[in-house]
Amino acid sequence: MYKLKLAVRSLLGQRTGTLINAIGLSLSLAVCLIIALYVQYEYSFEKHNPDAKNVYRLLNVHKGKRDPIHPIVFFDKLTAAIPELNEGLMLQLYSTGYFTIDNEQIFSERVMHSTNAFFPMFNIRMIEGGDAPLTDAFSAAISKSEAEKLFPGTSAIGKTIRYRNNNDFTITGVYEDVPITANYRPNIVLNIHAQETTDYYQYTSMNNQSTSFFFRLPENADKVEIAQKIEAEAKKAYFEDYSGTYAFQPLTDIHLRSSDTTWDTLERSGEKVVQLFMIVAALVLLIALFNFINLSVALRNKRNFNTGMQKIMGAGANDIFGYLFTETTILVTLCVLIALILTSALLPYFSNLMGVNTEFSLANPLLWGAILAIAVTTILLPVLVQWRHQMRITPSATIKGKGRILPKRGKISLAQTLTIVQIAISICLIIGVIGINKQFDLMLNKKLGFDKENLVTIMNPPTKKTTADRYALYKQELEKLPFVSGVTGTMNTPGHILNNGTAIAYEDAGGKQQLNLRIAPTDGDFFDVMKTKFILGEAYSPTDTSKIVINEQCWKKMNVENPIGMKVTSYFTGLDCEICGVIEDIQNISLQNESFPAFYFLYPELWYFIVRLHPGDLQKNIAEMEAVWKRIEPDLPFSYSFVDKDLQANYTREIRTRKLLTIMSLLAIFISMLGLYGLSMQIIQHRTKEIGIRKINGATISEILALLNRRFVIWVVVAFIIAVPLTYYAISKWLENFAYKTALSWWIFALAGLIALLVALLTVSWQSWRAASRNPVEALRYE
């Protein structure tokens, strides 16, 4: 009780120090707790499925890329030939389905195509309709909440839903809602075998890869051997020389360890990102911990005196430890409470920002584990550091108040080292944030190859009525609208993968050549509307189907000096054509990779309109375009998206990482600057007398400022020198993930250093200025 009382008074007595410690520690604790909950969430995927460790996704490994998709027909061939694969399922990932129910159009997110095996293998319990609802080809199962949404008040069983205005599916099963930590969370599952009727080509062709395969393997199965059997089957099914291999990916690895898989539209996270956040959270905590140690050391003149007196009055080593321990424990406990409140208050914002579903619950053992671990460290470390220091000094020195905060020139103290490390961490984070932003800017703006502003895509659904006619008609109508600056068309939305490949044949100095590339069917005014730059030549005229335009990658691959006017044969159309232009690459695969070589040509049947709008009221303009659409095609939905938003949605993970990293870096800088503020305050108070004497002897305010700030400038410089090589290495490593790398220019580092210097100077100058502008008589009065 006695020590408790003294500790509280002592904390209140050093208000600034206590406040700095409390703010820094509470904030960083909250950050750590939030990140801990986030990490727990990310690692909890498929944990609800007790059998998840035996379920595998089949990956096709081809030319160094891992694809999770295969042709539908391949599935039956595999299960027939390989007995180990008897428990398996096919699954086509979500699309947005539009359904007609009682003449009403309804959009449903996360519509999946699969088979009966989906439910037991992914541990989803059926509520109605028995264990095998998808027996009939045109049957569907629906989640409980989606059923309640679409058929409020009645049972969904037996209801008919018309899918994409084409085919009627009967609902034969209702399943319980899938946990948020499942990889596959469909609202509606349609029987994949319906595609035999609806999409015969996709259903039967070995050339259409659209479907993921999952297998439950026996625990002791030899996965390598099975994979080899699958390779043998692939050679039979494709062609003799097929060079792709196969691998089994555990279901539990999909969420965090498959950021490299291509053609995978499943929303995933990356283990590296999760680890990055763990590291940054630890750094933030470290900074706060250093503040703790630093400030208690800096406040030591006062404490030294108290300890000195206590020793004179007979206190032993354990008494001194007791004082320090009580005081620190009170402060840390307080911070834990504040951090818990902060965590529960901030977690919803965090979940929203990161698109995750973390929950705050005091019953979560992880929460308490993290708190305990952090609290023990933050109590014991500073206490032991101080205690060691306190026990070393003689009482006579302390009661005279002669302790130095910082050592004589040329010596290095703990406080100095810790502060420099803090500043270095801050500089690292600033450099990291600038570097990451620069890379994203390059990917999302500069390397696109077109202007993404005010660009809208409208789907032109392929249906029985010819798409080409509808395309021409709607384009004509759109061009009449006053807010439309240009309309063109394409088969793939800009910035997305060009997924149709072919080859061209041409002749150069070395004879006949062949090149595999991607095709991009477009409208004639495509390059104008997209604002794409030509490197050589010009666009084809809107009627000339004998000309093609190639991209820069294609030109590089062809390796000819001037491709303009060259004759090539396209295997896609089977026609001879002539190259009339070379454009800068339009990004046609995910931004981490180099663009595919591709050629652009005129084609009438286009699935997307690309509309360039004049800046203005987007909602109103969209509504007007929709009205026009409804007039032409009352039965088909008007489906549009903004190209810039669409692109962002493709890179949500990167964008989120960037946001969170920026926030955490700002926090780290804030906390280290709090510490610097506290330290500068102590140092300058300590030098009050010196400053007074200097002023009496004629020093000006600016001279005093320079004198006081010089030390801090040196610290920042040292920290900078430490931070630069570390971050240079780290960012170079990170950039290896990208085909288009931003340059690690010197100015990134210079800017980060400058920011750190400015912030540090601002922080300390308030104290310096006060000390320097003070009346020297006041400073010396108490001598």
Binding site: R9, M313, I399
Partner: protein, 219 residues
């Protein structure tokens, strides 16, 4: 009681050794009231600190009865502080976070005295020094003389045999100073051994014996 033999205290810097105390030989008998005088920087306080074990001599022997104090470890030194010696300082050196009562009580806590007894002992002293009304105030709420009274009370509450006073009147005006010196004189009469350091000729005469210190040497 105390025997100092050839005590030296010096600081080494690069090329020279600066002596603060040089070859001090001193004997203090039980019940004595010794005054150490001397100009600023003559080493008075250092000598007192060494006697009080707040500082170490660089060389020499320090015998307390038959104990070689220089060889004492931290723990034994704590015990010595607890049981044997009390200190009074020029700047009072009360602990700001503690009330008057707590400041006086603290040495008893380290001595392991029970709470009931502590209350009685502290109350006695408060009464004796006429500061009962101040018991729950903090040091900064008291006048200098009152603070020094608390300082003395804290120093003697544990009934030490030796009281060390480092310019106890230095920060006080003369009237308060006389009050403090009278209090010391009274304690001396009760049999306490006292060593004081002072500048003040008048207050020096309160003691039985005066030694003059100059440039670290006894004159």
């Amino acid at each position: 009681m105390i025997t100092l033999k050839h005590i030296n205290k010096y600081y080494d810097s690069k090329f020279q050794r600066t002596f603060v105390l040089k070859d001090i030989n001193l004997e203090v008998k039980e019940g004595e009231f010794l005054t150490i005088m001397g100009p600023s920087g003559s080493g008075k306080s250092t000598l007192l600190n060494i006697i009080g074990m707040l500082d170490y001599p660089s060389e020499g022997e320090y015998w307390l009865y038959d104990t070689d104090v220089v060889q004492l470890n931290e723990k034994r030194r704590g015990k010595y502080h607890r049981d044997f010696v009390g200190f009074i300082f020029q700047a009072y050196h009360l602990i700001e976070e503690m009330t008057v009562y707590e400041n006086i009580e603290t040495p008893l806590i380290y001595k392991g005295v029970k709470q009931k007894e502590r209350q009685a002992m502290v109350a006695d002293l408060l009464d004796r020094f006429g500061i009962v009304a101040k018991r729950d105030l903090f040091p900064q709420q008291l006048s200098g003389g009152q603070q020094q009274l608390v300082g003395i009370a804290r120093a003697i509450v544990g009934k030490p045999q030796l009281l060390l006073a480092d310019e106890p009147t230095g920060n006080l005006h003369s009237k308060q100073g006389i009050m403090i010196m009278e209090t010391l004189k009274e304690l001396h009469k009760e049999g306490m051994t006292i060593i004081q350091v002072t500048h003040n000729d008048k207050f020096a005469t309160y003691g039985d014996r005066i030694i003059q210190l100059e440039d670290g040497m006894i004159q």
